[in-house]
Amino acid sequence: MCNTCGCNLTAGNRHLLFTPPKTEAVTAVSVLGSLLQHNNEQAGRNRAHFDAHGVLVINLMSSPGAGKTALLEATIQRLKANINIAVIEGDLETENDADRIRAQGVPAYQITTGTACHLDAHLIAGVLPQLDLSAIDLLFIENVGNLVCPASFDLGHHRNVTLLSVTEGDDKPAKYPVMFRAADLMLITKTDLLPHLDDFSVAKAAQCQRALASQVPVLPLSSRTGDGLDAWLDWLAQEVVAHKLRVQRQQTIKPRMQEDGLKWHQQTPKIRFRPVARG
């Protein structure tokens, strides 16, 4: 029996400690728990699973129609001879994107989320049994097209790549700071359309990204013409090699994910238990 864990409290003496519930007796418990706790725990398990096979996992995020699938098609065409690639596709409905990827000769797994606007760690865990990770070096997760929700969910991946197409407006990073701040790499896509647009400045888009205190590379490219693709493919190849070395050293890396701010409040005890109103 002690005064620390509460084992000295019995049905016979508990009334001495707490006032009866009918009054304003309130017990406050400080918890400091992340509201994304369940997701983050599953994400950690997913990442350990990927790392055990040395697979680099990249989460592609953008608004719908920014060219994620087209980028993957162009990327697979250029890289599949040297790097074993697979893709997990997230969409509300249809297998269309997975079919486009399979047509490139690499495995693709479609997650249809129904009405959910983002992928989460549990959805990814659901398709893991179908993936032969030992045959993969690089796994892309094409998230649901949405500049809001996907940024908050760790999937167990290693890098976030955020796409901004030139038809969307160059101030998107200022409008969606949570998403763009999470980027480990920012791609400006569909640059072949720039001659037809007088209101998109690549420099302005990069400037909005820098205002988020983000120093990540900003790479303009066109999946259609291939312009600028080399820098993106070089980045990918370097990341794949760097990750293989990392897991050999028993290390991993987390994406620049929207954390829950918990780290700044750790000095407070994790659980504090105090009866506030005593009779």
């Binding site: 309130v26 017990t27 418990v29 988020l212 205190a213 929207q258 700044w264």
Partner: protein, 116 residues
């Protein structure tokens, strides 16, 4: 709209805490929320009204405490208040800053009644 799934997580954590302390009722739930958490306070409140029905937090008040966006500069060492889409140092203009507040999404405190 992922506020609903966040609320489910919130309620599971709150319910577990109430069970640990053998409480009948949850009176108040205090959540710290920052503009860079990616969560809309009003949506979280309305999602909470849907999720809590019938459970131990049926009558609970959800208190959302907004947290300020703050950065500290790696170049000049100064801390400054910032905004969600401008995280540059307000003292020297540097982009080499670290966020020290404003992305919170934290269940900070639960107030229980009827602790057996």
């Amino acid at each position: 709209m992922h506020e609903l799934s966040l609320c489910q997580d919130l309620l599971e954590q709150v319910t577990a805490i109430a069970q640990t302390h053998k409480a009948d009722t949850v009176v108040r739930i205090i959540v710290w929320i920052g503009p860079l958490s990616g969560v809309e306070p009003l949506l979280l409140k309305s999602a909470f009204d849907l999720i809590r029905a019938g459970g131990v937090a049926d009558q609970a008040e959800l208190v959302l405490q907004n947290q300020a966006v703050k950065v500290v500069c790696s170049d000049c060492g100064m801390a400054s208040e910032a905004t969600a889409n401008n995280l540059l140092c307000r003292h020297c203009g540097s982009g080499h800053t670290r966020l020290i507040g404003g992305d919170e999404l934290i269940l900070a405190r639960v107030e229980l009644a009827g602790v057996a």
